[in-house]
């Protein structure tokens, strides 16, 4: 079923929307959560929570032309919440590694509570991504948005892992420089 048709069902409050979403994107949502959590049951729960959240948020939202990113965004936030709640210290090694990498280039004094500052920083990161080549941006997003491992990205790109590592290192360095130039204390 087309994304537009599925969103239409949500807008009409037709519960088959959830079934259609599950059929079309269930595996990808579960796979996304599983790759970060390594827990089959948790991945299943996340997928179910995504359907519920989508049901509650469409309308007012109408992601007819970007349904999958919309669902993945919910899945990502739910996955991060789950990680924070279930394993504050003994977190998934992958997430710990990703966090360390991101901390190299995100301002140290940044506080999520400062909403205005957070929004501004997010805007800067978005602008930085827009300046990257498509390949580099995809690599960065696969790593830090989809939580892919280096071997997984290398496989997608059809290159050696060291190339991916180098690419990510350079992107992080560039992001750090870019934010420094904007006056952030990195």
């Amino acid at each position: 079923m087309e994304d537009g048709r599925i969103v239409e069902l949500y807008l009409k409050r037709d519960e088959t929307a959830i079934k259609a979403t599950e059929e079309k994107y269930g595996a990808r949502l579960r796979g996304f959560a599983y790759s970060a959590l390594k827990d089959r049951q948790a991945a299943e729960e996340i997928a179910n929570d995504v359907y519920l959240k989508a049901w509650n948020s469409i309308p007012p939202n109408e992601p007819a032309d970007h349904l999958l990113p919309y669902l993945l965004r919910i899945a990502r936030q739910l996955t991060l919440n789950r990680i924070k709640r279930l394993s504050c210290v003994k977190r998934s090694a992958v997430l710990t590694e990703l966090t360390h990498e991101m901390e190299e280039c995100i301002p140290s004094g940044y506080d999520m509570a400062g909403e205005l500052e957070a929004r501004e920083l997010k805007r800067e990161i978005d602008a930085f991504l827009s300046r990257l080549s498509e390949e580099k941006r995809n690599v960065f997003v696969r790593r830090y948005w989809f939580f892919d491992s280096i071997p997984e990205i290398a496989e997608r790109l059809g290159c050696r892992e060291n190339r991916v590592k180098t690419m990510l290192y350079r992107i992080r360095s560039d992001l750090k420089t870019s934010l420094k130039n904007k006056g952030y204390n990195v």
Partner: protein
């Protein structure tokens, strides 16, 4: 910034970028398929190749690589990273009796990428070091209080294989990296991926087992030498090195029916047959890589269905507290430990079936509550913080994990103090969660979480004055969890600080937990 905040920041990036990355196609890459992701063998190959290059003596086949790695590492004494007095390495097994099980170098090197030089893969979950010409790999981890640490034999220094040689980063125009300077081969000294003092394992042969205090000093890491897997059958490892038949305390497994841990007496006939099968089993270079057994698509899909997943995990405990992870595949492949990724035993399926049947029937003593009690008892017996451990366990919650991080003497390996204790309480569904942590009072200004709590307005009060007004209370701001109560509390008690984070837990439960410390 700590936690996942830095990753959350990226949550709102432009949808176009998400869609574009989502569509990033997988490409075929023959060499990558051929290369066993298990870093172990790449590492072994890399070691052999580097040393081979240094000596200008490229090996002909993959089967010789392991031998070269050990022998050359031993000959090249400056490369031996252990600072203890060097001793002569005498292989325990005559050369003619050895077999070497490695990845097939020819298929990796020549068939798939003839123009490229093989390089050492970086394995983040892969721990090793070289001592006396032998490569030691992580076999298992033990609780920090186990009395297994013997004499110090040396100090190993960290060497990050990711950046181990210039040819790891051959991309044109790669910039100089101050953090990880590329090192030319001639300067390269192969060391390992762990650092710190290395000790003998009490009662066991140094040439086979060594141990270290792990990170955060909450565990003991036990290493074994991979060069020891040079024999033809499982008994050479299980019996000759581990004395498993005489030394086995129990066998444990996680049930697929209720996900609880069960223990089985080693005298059980099914266990006896299982050990016999391993002893008789032949070491083979399994055509499936370690990862393909689990993560290739069909196997990955099988994980979605417990019934189809061909691997059952078993743990064997010995009387001197070694524990051995064993993967049992229904087709008769048995893998041992974390180290031997591409090596496996081919065993008699008939002899492992009784154990698999027994596991399917939840046979044995359920260890779950016993383990919880043991863990909590260890916290309460802790000299430094034992009296700060709550006596009350909230209704519906159980202790799911405890962490005691010790301060240790690097020279002797002795535990000389406790850094902090953490206890996790969770309900069955992991909805209601309490993270309890007790630490020295001087840590209050350095621990991120407490500092954050204080900044949020939590009053750091004496335990006598603690009540709901001292807690930071809010509703969760997590999507989908808006109705849940979230709280943080910081309490001073004697010369320690207690810090509690609670999810979906009423304030009175936290108060009762804290009160039970002094009541």
């Amino acid at each position: 910034m700590k936690g996942t905040e830095s990753l959350e920041l990226l949550g709102d990036i432009n949808e176009k970028y998400i869609a574009s990355a989502e569509c990033m196609k997988k490409r075929n890459s023959a060499w990558r398929i051929a290369l066993p992701i298990a870093a172990g063998f790449c590492l072994v190959l890399g070691v052999g190749l580097i040393l081979g290059k240094i000596l200008g003596n490229k090996p002909d086949t993959g089967n010789d690589i392991t031998a070269m790695a050990s022998e050359n590492a031993q000959n090249a004494s400056p490369a031996a990273e252990v600072t203890a007095e060097p001793t002569e390495y005498v292989p325990a097994i005559p050369e003619e009796d050895r077999i070497y099980l490695t990845a097939d170098l020819s298929s990796y090197d020549e068939a798939y990428h003839p123009d490229e030089t093989p390089y050492i893969e970086w394995g983040i979950d892969y721990q090793m070091f070289i001592y006396q010409g032998r490569e030691y790999f992580l076999l298992c981890t033990l609780d920090a209080m186990n009395d297994v640490i013997g004499e110090k034999v040396g100090t190993v220094e960290l060497f990050d294989f990711q950046w181990s040689a210039r040819w790891c980063h051959d991309e044109e125009g790669s910039p100089a990296n101050e953090e990880h300077p590329f090192i030319s081969i001639s300067e390269n000294e192969l060391k390992g991926t762990v650092e710190g003092s290395v000790f003998s394992f009490k009662g066991r042969d140094d040439s086979v087992f060594l141990c270290m205090r792990g990170d955060y000093r909450s565990m003991i890491y036990v290493y074994t030498t991979d060069c020891g897997i040079t024999e033809k059958n499982g008994a050479a490892f299980l019996e000759d090195k581990l004395n498993i038949s005489e030394n086995m305390q129990e066998l444990r497994y996680i049930s697929r029916n209720d996900f609880k841990q069960y223990a089985v007496d080693p005298r059980n006939e099914a266990v006896r047959l299982f050990i016999e099968a391993i002893d008789e089993g032949e070491w083979i270079n399994d055509t499936r890589s370690y990862f393909s057994r689990y993560f290739d698509e069909p196997a990955f899909l099988a994980l979605e269905d417990e019934e189809l997943n061909p691997c059952r995990n078993v743990k064997i405990y010995t009387n001197d507290r070694l524990d051995l992870d064993i993967g049992v595949f229904t087709d008769g492949i048995v893998t041992i430990g974390n180290s031997f990724h591409s090596m496996a035993l081919q065993v008699d399926v008939e002899k492992i079936s009784p154990l698999l049947d027994l596991m399917a029937a939840n046979y044995g003593e359920c260890m779950e509550n016993k383990n919880d009690d043991d863990r909590l008892a260890a916290c309460r017996n802790n000299r430094r913080f034992g009296e700060m451990i709550p006596t009350y366990i909230p209704d519906g919650l159980r202790v799911t994990d405890t962490y005691i991080e010790y301060i240790t003497d690097a020279e002797t390996g002795d535990i000389i103090g406790t850094d902090h204790i953490r206890i996790d309480y969770k309900d069955e569904d992991h909805d209601s969660i309490i993270y309890f942590r007790v630490m020295p009072i001087e840590q209050t200004d350095t621990d991120y979480s407490i500092r954050w709590a204080v900044e949020k307005g939590v009053r750091n009060v004496d335990i006598e004055d603690f009540d709901e007004s001292c807690m930071y209370l809010s509703h969760s701001n997590s999507i989908g969890c808006e109705d849940e109560i979230y709280s943080q509390s910081v309490v001073t008690y004697k010369d320690a600080v207690i810090y509690i984070q609670a999810f979906d837990t009423q304030p009175e439960v936290i108060i009762a937990l804290i009160r039970s410390i002094i009541d």
